[in-house]
Structures are given as structure tokens and as C-alpha cells.
């Protein structure tokens, strides 16, 4: 039987939604014992929150003063210590899990499987390569300890309503002091984060200037959407690099993606192909973006976007 350790991601007093999705992934392993490990400085409600997730057998809260900040350098030795007796160690494939788990895998001399999108058995997993342009099935020998990050877009969140036992252990391990947290500048609060937003509006080269690109922000704000840009728009200086969507930028999977004035270069399509619904607005009816769009409209974006804004405003009244 598999014993799965799920490393909880949290922000001090709130469990991150990615944890519930990782728990859900763990429960797809038949008959698995699912233990959530929560690393805190103590006095945090996150262990209790993890205990409510359906499918969790037990919550292990490890308290240590250094856990106030969730740094890979100090978490990894703790996770590796707890993880010794588990067959599988999972964390969400967020920047938290991506940073932490390879360090854990190296400490445990275990292979890591990144971005797991489905679990076929205790030893067989599916994961994307080439930014999702190919899907591989990977297999390890029976009895191999596996470290994995779980692609959160592939799993629903485990439901609440559970009541697992919480065990708290105070750790006095000597942890490295070579890595220190300085600050966290939260992403702009007035607009959702591009990586995790449920709606994303992106602009391309057809916007033709940084000033004209503002029309994208306007529509995004009306829809409560994050803003992205094609590499062409970024290279032309219309939008900053951190807004780039595509293979060399952010790979996203929102519920709604609206591509405005984006022709649909391969490297851009790679970044959006897991979006639930793709809408394309482009004046070129031959643009490749229409081949992947669920809803397409051929026309001038500078006409269509203001019209769309008006219709949205009217529907809110």
C-alpha cells in the first residue's frame, strides 16, 4: 500500500488551494494513506484546515522557528526527514513545490517526476514535456521512492468536511542559516495574477503601441481578468516581459482566454492550449489563432473591444 506525504503549501495562516488539489491527486492512488505535512512556526490554523480535506488520513504539523518563512533550504531537510517512511512525496507544482521538491529528492536520492497530470498506478504517471506539446507516460520500478510535483490544473480540489487527526511535533533540528527571507512584494492587488487567474485577456502585435495596449487593461478590469501579452507584443515594447504568455513566458490554463490581435505563433499557442475556452479577436481571418479558438471573430479590435465593454456594462445594470 502506498503511503503518500503531501507537503502543504500555505501562507502563514491560510492553506493554499493548491494543497487541496494535491491531496485530491494523492487520493487517486488506490488504497493510499494520505498524510499532509504542514511546516509552521507554531500557533497556525493551517494544520486544522488541512485536516478538513476529504481523503486525508492524518495531518502532521512540524513546528520550528525557521518555518515562519517557507524557504526550500530550511524546509527540505525537514521534509526529507519526515518523508523517509513514505513511498510517495507530493507537493503542488507551484513555484513553492517546484523550488522545494527537487531539493528534497536529492537529499533522499529519489527520482522526481515533475508536473504529474495523472496517476495511473503507484509506479506509473503521465506528465507533459515540451510545454505540453507531448504527453509522456513514465514508469519506475516497483518499490522506488517517488518525489513528485502535481500539476494543479489537472486535479479538482479535495472537498472539505473531513476530520483527520492532527499530530504536532516540535522540531529542534539544526537547519542551515545560509538562506534568509528578506521581503515579499505581493503582485499588484488591483488585478489578478496571470498565472492563476480564471480569466486572462492578452494583446498582441496588432495593438501597435504601448499606449494602445491600455485597451486590453480596460477590458480586463471589466471582466476581473489578468492581462497577458504575446512575445511579439513584449518584444515590440508594448507590454512588460513578465506578462508574456507562451512557451518562453507563462504557461496558463484559465477558464477563459481572450486573444486580441494575436496571430497565434506556435510558441504562444503552447502557452494557452490548456485554457478551457479560447476566444480570438483578429482582423486576419487566416490567423492560426482561429484554428484553436472556441469562439472567433474577424474584425478590428479597436471597434470590437469597446463594443464588448459596452455590452458588459449594460449586462451589469
Amino acid at each position: 500500500m502506498s503511503q503518500v506525504l503531501v507537503v502543504a503549501e500555505h501562507a502563514g495562516n491560510k492553506l493554499n488551494a493548491s494543497t487541496a488539489k494535491t491531496v485530491k491527486a494523492a487520493t487517486t492512488l488506490a488504497g493510499a494513506e494520505v498524510v499532509v505535512a504542514v511546516f509552521t512556526p507554531g500557533g497556525s490554523p493551517v494544520a486544522a484546515q488541512a485536516a478538513q480535506l476529504t481523503g486525508v488520513t492524518r495531518v502532521l504539523e512540524v513546528t520550528h522557528a525557521s518555518n515562519e518563512h517557507q524557504l526550500a533550504a530550511t524546509l527540505a531537510p525537514q521534509v526529507a526527514e519526515v518523508g523517509k517512511s513514505f513511498t510517495h512525496l507530493f507537493a503542488p507544482s507551484t513555484t513553492f513545490g517546484k523550488d522545494l521538491m527537487p531539493r528534497v529528492a536529492a537529499l533522499l536520492d529519489a527520482p522526481q517526476i515533475s508536473d504529474v497530470m495523472s496517476i495511473e498506478s503507484e509506479t506509473r504517471f503521465r506528465r507533459p514535456i515540451y510545454a505540453g506539446n507531448a504527453i509522456t507516460t513514465v514508469e519506475v520500478a516497483a518499490g522506488t521512492k517517488i518525489v513528485a510535483t502535481i500539476r494543479t490544473a489537472s486535479f479538482e480540489a479535495a472537498a472539505g468536511g473531513g476530520n483527520a487527526k492532527v499530530e504536532t511535533v516540535a522540531s529542534n533540528a539544526t537547519l542551515p542559516s545560509h538562506s534568509r527571507f528578506v521581503s515579499l512584494a505581493a503582485a499588484s492587488a488591483d488585478r489578478p495574477d496571470l498565472q492563476s487567474a480564471s480569466k486572462v485577456i492578452s494583446g498582441g502585435r496588432a495593438l501597435a503601441s504601448a499606449d494602445a495596449f491600455k485597451i486590453i487593461y480596460g477590458l480586463a478590469d471589466k471582466l476581473g481578468a489578468a492581462v497577458g501579452a504575446s512575445r511579439a507584443a513584449v518584444d515590440a515594447g508594448y507590454a512588460p516581459n513578465d506578462m508574456q504568455v507562451g512557451q518562453t513566458g507563462k504557461i496558463i490554463a484559465p477558464e477563459l482566454y481572450i486573444a486580441i490581435g494575436i496571430s497565434g505563433a506556435i510558441q504562444h499557442l503552447t502557452g494557452i492550449k490548456d485554457a478551457r475556452t479560447i476566444v480570438a479577436i483578429n482582423k486576419d481571418s487566416e490567423a492560426p489563432i482561429f484554428e484553436v479558438a472556441d469562439i472567433g471573430i474577424v474584425g478590428d479590435l479597436f471597434t470590437i473591444v469597446p463594443e464588448l465593454e459596452k455590452l458588459i456594462d449594460a449586462s451589469k445594470r
Partner: protein
């Protein structure tokens, strides 16, 4: 007496299928078609090379050494990084042996022990296997700090202050040197290589090292048993005007 050691940055790079290539899965499911496909330096590694060069140009490093763990024919990729401005290169020749990220990290640790860099920079992930593991694993094996997904690096003599692109925003860490830093897209925009530099790079030192001589055995534990194309997207519907677009979005509960 302590001999003064040059302040050295080691940059690990990987040759991958160029990011502009539309990859195709082999019909028999045994992998991705690589014959005749354009290969280039992994874009994130190119950013790593650029950052190391900028640190040297600011006078904070004496030497930039490029390393790769790859088959013999990957030398051109190293020459390209040398043409960007690095001083020399190390080529660990794999000759058909396959290494997983942990194996590559073990090889890089051998190079770190040999070169004693104060900073190792590599891309956060290679755009072929998308593993995002090697840098973190090297840091663990080396027992040194890691600062992944860097968008800014500021150095003092004994520490690096690194801004990281994390889901919650921008996190800044201070790490003691030596350390491993992995690059994110926003860190810099790599320079273009000029023809005279390409010529000059041909005579820069490039040391080849047989993988077997490092005592890191190939260790394949994760076997790829099948490669498939992703579920394709269907071409959807075209609407004639904005009103029809809005109606369709409403129908699907998206606005």
C-alpha cells in the same frame, strides 16, 4: 598563505530543440522526432550566460566558465556561449548515456568541486523535458543555498540578494555565497552575438571530459514508456459581430 583564487561563475547550459520548432510526436509513440530539427541553447540558460557576463562586466567576477553535459556534437552550443563572451568551457561528453536531473546535478557537483565557483547560474528549466530540477538538486548535493526563478541578482562580497518570481509576487532572498541561482525570463535580455566574436570563440579553451572519468554512473530510474500528442483542440465557431460574441460568452457563463 592563502593563494588568491579567481572569482569564477559556472554556468550550466543545455542544448534543446529550438523554441520556435513545432515538435512532432513519433507515430509509434516512442518519443519526439528529433532528426533534422534545429537545436539551440535552452532559452533560460542563455539568460544565465548573459547574467554571468554582466556580473563579470560589473567587476564582480573574474571569469565565466560554461559547462554542459551532452553528446559530443553539442560542442557548437558551447562555442555559441563562448561567443557571447565567456572565457572557457567544459564539455562532459555523455556519448549515448542518459542522465536524469539528479545525475546531471551529480556531474555538475564534480565540476563545482574542480572549479570552485562562488556562483553557479543555470536556467530554471530546460524547455524539452520541463523538469525544473537540476539547479535545486545541485544546491542540495553541494549543501549550499539556492535562489530559483531569479528576476534580479545583486551581489556583495559574501552574499547575493536575489529577487524571485513566485506565484505570490516577487520574493527577495539573501543567500550566502557560494550559491546556486536559476534564472527566470525577466532577469535580462541576452545580447546578440556578432560575427567577430564567433570567430574568436573558436580559439577559446574548451575542455572535454569523459562522463566515465567523473565516476557518476548513468542511472535511469524514470523510464518513458509512451509519448503521445496532447488531446488536440477542435476549431470552434466563428461569430459575425460583437453582439453575437457577447451572447455566446453569456451562454457559456463566461461573462
Amino acid at each position: 598563505m592563502e593563494t588568491s583564487q579567481p572569482r569564477r561563475i559556472l554556468v550550466a547550459i543545455k542544448r534543446v530543440v529550438d523554441y520556435n520548432v513545432r515538435i512532432r510526436v513519433k507515430p509509434d509513440g516512442t518519443g519526439v522526432m528529433l532528426d533534422g530539427v534545429k537545436l539551440s541553447i535552452n532559452p533560460f540558460d542563455q539568460i544565465a550566460v548573459e547574467e554571468a557576463l554582466r556580473i563579470k562586466e560589473r567587476g564582480r567576477a573574474d571569469e565565466v566558465v560554461i559547462a554542459t553535459v551532452a553528446p559530443a556534437d553539442a560542442q557548437a552550443t558551447l562555442r555559441n556561449a563562448l561567443a557571447m563572451g565567456a572565457q572557457r568551457a567544459l564539455h562532459v561528453v555523455t556519448d549515448g548515456a542518459h542522465l536524469e536531473p539528479l545525475g546531471v546535478a551529480r556531474v555538475l557537483l564534480k565540476l563545482v568541486e574542480k572549479e570552485k565557483p562562488f556562483l553557479v547560474i543555470l536556467g530554471k528549466q530546460a524547455i524539452d523535458d520541463d523538469n525544473n530540477q537540476t539547479g535545486q538538486m545541485l544546491a542540495a548535493l553541494w549543501d549550499r543555498p539556492q535562489a530559483t526563478f531569479a528576476s534580479k541578482i545583486e551581489l556583495t562580497d559574501s552574499a547575493a540578494r536575489v529577487t524571485r518570481e513566485v506565484d505570490a509576487g516577487l520574493e527577495t532572498l539573501e543567500v550566502d555565497l557560494p550559491a546556486v541561482v536559476t534564472t527566470d525570463l525577466r532577469l535580462n535580455e541576452p545580447r546578440f552575438v556578432k560575427l567577430p566574436e564567433i570567430m574568436k570563440a573558436k580559439s577559446k579553451p574548451l575542455e572535454t571530459i569523459a562522463l566515465a572519468s567523473l565516476g557518476v554512473p548513468p542511472d535511469v530510474r524514470v523510464k518513458v514508456t509512451k509519448t503521445e500528442p496532447p488531446a488536440g483542440r477542435q476549431r470552434g465557431i466563428m461569430v459575425k459581430d460583437t453582439a453575437a460574441l457577447f451572447a455566446e460568452l453569456q451562454k457559456r457563463g463566461l461573462v
